[in-house]
């Protein structure tokens, strides 16, 4: 059984959860359609790997908004307390 170190087979996933193999397959299919995982057939096994793309875009936006709000709140403070020279 060939297992690459950063992917898991569907059997492997099913063994680790109290879930039937068909149930795991169903969840995997949804994750695959949503673009969160990649599936590769190696021999008789389906190997699943996490795709970072979906998470990365979200992370990019979250980082952006984190800084965005920090700077906006500082502006609000300056405004409320007349620290801004208009």
């Amino acid at each position: 059984m060939l297992l690459s170190k950063d992917s898991l087979t569907i059997n492997n996933l099913a063994e680790n959860f109290d879930m039937s193999r068909p149930a795991v397959s169903k969840h995997i299919k949804i994750l695959y359609t949503a673009g969160f995982i990649a599936i590769e057939d190696i021999g008789r096994e389906r190997h699943c790997t996490l795709k970072q793309d979906g998470f990365n875009e979200l992370q990019k936006w979250i980082s952006y908004f984190d800084e965005f709000w920090t700077s906006k709140l500082k502006r609000l403070d300056a405004l409320l307390n007349n620290k801004l020279v208009n």
């Binding site: 170190k5 795991v24 673009g35 995982i37 979906g54 979200l58 709000w69 609000l76 409320l80 307390n81």
Partner: protein, 150 residues
Amino acid sequence: MNKSINHQFFFPNPPKAVWEYLTNSELMDLWLMKNDFQPIVGHEFQFRTGPKPDYNFDGIVYCKVLEIVPFEKLSYSWKLGPGDGIINIDSVVKWELKSKNEGTELVLEHSDFAIMENLLIFNSMNEGWVKNVHKIIDRLNAASHGTINT
């Protein structure tokens, strides 16, 4: 997968004063962005700012007022995309104002982020499924970081 942005800021001004800056359109423009906000639940409005092409953002944030408790709570949805009616990011902004030491503790939570392409999929899943999906993702994440021996 549900990450949130949390900020807290103390203002030496009473809640009623801070509330004005969160709910009066012209005042909001001074520190936040140009908008057509109205403090009415269900009101749909927009924030407008400069576009960010490298973020696939045309500069318009589409919002809808979700909750208002005068001088205490305000929340609205916050959606954006590249334009042409396409929405890529969906989220919720929540403000809470707490009276403290003759001033106001302003608490911001920007959360419930979802990337639209995936929203459709997740919306059709019930809670039990979502939990299982999270477990699978965590497992795959652990594997990709080499912490699992199989």
